[in-house]
């Protein structure tokens, strides 16, 4: 009896060791690339060429970071990535704000003010989330091209293009349009579970469409707003396809395109430490969001994956 239980105990200790060992091994698999990026970004070049990539910097320096931010070459311009970081910020903030607000309103209408055919409308918007953007890339380029010409005409005519043809404005439009499906999906599913009785009661009391939205729905929507904003922020900040197609050169590039160009700019010695610093800077905003609001980040991913 005692031998049996002690051997079972021995086995379960062994099990535990194996389980923790595997978990630790995989943790290393996920962490090592980030670790290598970090240590590399603090090493001077000679240490990279001679040393081990996993070794901590012997002579840590923040010069690669300064260089990535202020001097690195993107194509022929050598002014660092700070301008592109700013480009991405200017694009992300309005795109996230507009697509989220529209998504909230759409979700509200599609759950609390249903009309005939609401399901078809939702189905069409939902499928739009999943199309490969290659299927719309070219027509959008054509439309943005004519917007640009219109902007030029306006410029000649009244002295301002009113934002027509501005690459940042273009990308905001693109991200709002192709983000609508997801934001609508998030809010629709959230409001679906919201008690309709409250809305009805407010209607009987004479509250208008917007009053109900403002006073009843919005105060109860904080979690889904956080989820949606994070989801949109991550997607738009990380986008590369639209960015490279519609703002792929010059000083209007968003961060992802600029980073890719920094890495592929081959003038003289490739400065890996600068590349790594630039990559981390490009990743910082989304990583920061992940660290402070990981729970909501995961919820957004799940909501986008397991829809219904």
């Amino acid at each position: 009896m005692s031998t049996a239980s002690s051997s079972a105990e021995g086995r379960s200790t062994l099990d535990r060791v194996v389980i923790y060992g595997l978990l630790g091994l995989f943790a290393a698999f996920y962490l090592i690339p980030l670790f290598v990026m970090l240590v590399t970004s603090f090493k001077p070049m000679d240490e990279i060429q001679s040393g081990n990539m996993l070794a901590l910097p012997r002579d840590p320096t923040i010069e690669p970071w300064m260089k990535a931010w202020g001097e690195a070459c993107v194509g022929l311009t050598c002014a660092g990535i700070k301008g592109y970081f700013w480009n991405s910020t200017k694009m992300v903030v309005p795109a996230v704000a507009i697509s989220t607000v529209l998504g909230a309103l759409n979700g509200y209408v599609l759950t609390k003010w249903r009309f005939r055919g609401h399901k078809v409308v939702f189905g069409l918007m939902l499928f739009a989330c999943f199309i490969p953007f290659q299927a719309v890339l070219l027509p959008m380029a054509t439309i943005l091209g004519s917007l640009g010409r219109f902007g030029n005409d306006l410029q000649d005519l009244i002295g301002t293009s009113l934002g027509f043809g501005n690459p940042t404005v273009n990308l905001v439009i693109v991200h709002v349009v192709y983000g609508l499906g997801f934001t609508t999906l998030f809010f629709r599913n959230y409001y679906e579970a919201f008690p309709t009785e409250l809305v009805k009661a407010a209607q009987v009391d004479g509250a208008s469409f917007f009053q109900i939205f403002w006073r009843i729905m919005l105060p109860n929507s904080a979690p889904i707003f956080v989820v949606t904003v994070i989801y949109q922020f991550t997607n738009i900040w990380n986008d590369f396809l639209f960015a490279s197609a519609y703002a792929g050169s010059g000083d209007v590039m968003p961060m992802t395109v600029a980073l890719n160009n920094v890495v592929n700019t081959s003038t003289g010695v490739v400065e890996y430490n600068v590349n790594m610093a630039a990559a981390i800077i490009a990743a910082l905003p989304t990583l920061f969001v992940y660290v402070v609001a990981g729970r909501y980040f995961v919820r957004g991913l799940m909501a986008g994956a397991v829809k219904g």
Partner: protein
């Protein structure tokens, strides 16, 4: 359904005493007015543009769009290239790469995700630390992932050099520069990025399983392996389906990772159809062929997504 009757009734009562004012009618229309801009945007920018792309694929557009229909020439060229394997055409490379990448990426992400989820579900101390570690790559852009792995897999700098320095001189790993192997490096980086997410999906599924069922099976003498093989994994079937849909959809759309990690690989050997589309449309001035490849990508994704969405929406409606 019941909601819509309410404003109708209010309107009807009002109408009984006096004619419905413009203002009230506007109030009734308001929800549709609010929804309309988004709906129109989606119809035009998604469905309209898809039709536009389909149309272009039946023209002989080169550098600029040309709107004279010239039949299925672009598709015939793609079809011809589909079987042209010696030397491989770019299209042949792209679709066979998608096959290799898709199968390995989906398979490995699911296997690794399931394994990690099961391991994490063994009442582990430190789960709160491990889970975010497995999942954080999902917050990075493909470009950052590509840059990191490009460095890590570079024979002269990364893994190979490190193992040489540690004394394993014969270790050789140059897949990222090998045209027959480069697609596997895309798999590695892709799995690194997405497997944590699949883990989170499976973990949520595992946590949703009634612990009574597990206990009952254990009392009946089921071993842990039996328990998972016969009971738990079959119960996770919906998660397998969701994970498959998400991963398949991500695989077909993959574009950035190939660009950042391999710059297309030696001679375009790492291309996926998305890279083919971009190159042919914007760089090789073969707009019609690019559009045709986009249409094929769309049809592939639709074949996976449409039945899934349809069944999800129908179930929901019941």
């Amino acid at each position: 359904m019941t909601i819509t009757t309410l404003p109708d009734r209010v309107a009807a009562q009002a109408g009984a005493t006096r004619p419905v004012s413009l203002r009230e009618r506007l109030q009734d229309l308001l929800p549709k007015i609010v929804l309309a801009p988004s709906f129109v945007a989606v119809i035009v920018f998604v469905y309209g543009f898809i039709l536009w792309t389909v149309y272009l694929s039946f023209t002989n557009s080169k550098t600029f769009p040309n709107y004279n229909l010239t039949g299925t020439r672009a598709y015939e060229r793609l079809w011809g290239w589909t079987f042209e394997s010696d030397p491989p055409s770019s299209w042949y490379t792209s679709i066979t790469n998608l096959g290799t990448f898709g199968v390995l990426y989906i398979g490995l992400c699911m296997a690794l995700g399931l394994l990690l989820a099961i391991l994490l579900d063994q009442k582990i101390r430190g789960e709160g630390i491990l889970r975010p570690i497995y999942l954080y790559p999902m917050a990075l852009s493909f470009i950052v992932t590509g840059v990191a792995w490009k460095w890590f897999l570079d024979p002269g700098l990364g893994l190979e050099k490190t193992l040489h320095a540690w004394g394993w001189e014969s270790f050789h790993f140059d897949w990222i520069k090998n045209k027959d192997r480069v697609i596997y490096t895309v798999v590695i980086a892709g799995v690194w990025q997405a497997s944590g997410f699949v883990m989170a999906m499976f973990l949520a599924g595992l946590r949703g399983i009634d612990s009574e069922i597990m206990k009952a099976a254990q009392i009946d003498g089921a071993t842990t392996v039996q328990l998972y093989r016969r009971i738990v994994i079959p119960m996770l079937r919906p998660i397998f389906l969701s994970a498959f849909i998400v991963l398949a959809h991500m695989a077909i759309k993959s574009y950035d990772l190939v660009v950042a990690l391999t710059s297309g690989g030696p001679g375009g050997s790492a291309w996926l159809p998305s890279n083919f589309m971009y190159e042919y449309t914007f760089k090789r001035n073969e707009m019609a062929v690019g559009s045709a490849s986009a249409v094929i990508m769309l049809m592939t994704i639709s074949a996976i997504i449409v039945p899934y969405l349809y069944s999800e929406l129908r179930e929901k409606g019941r």
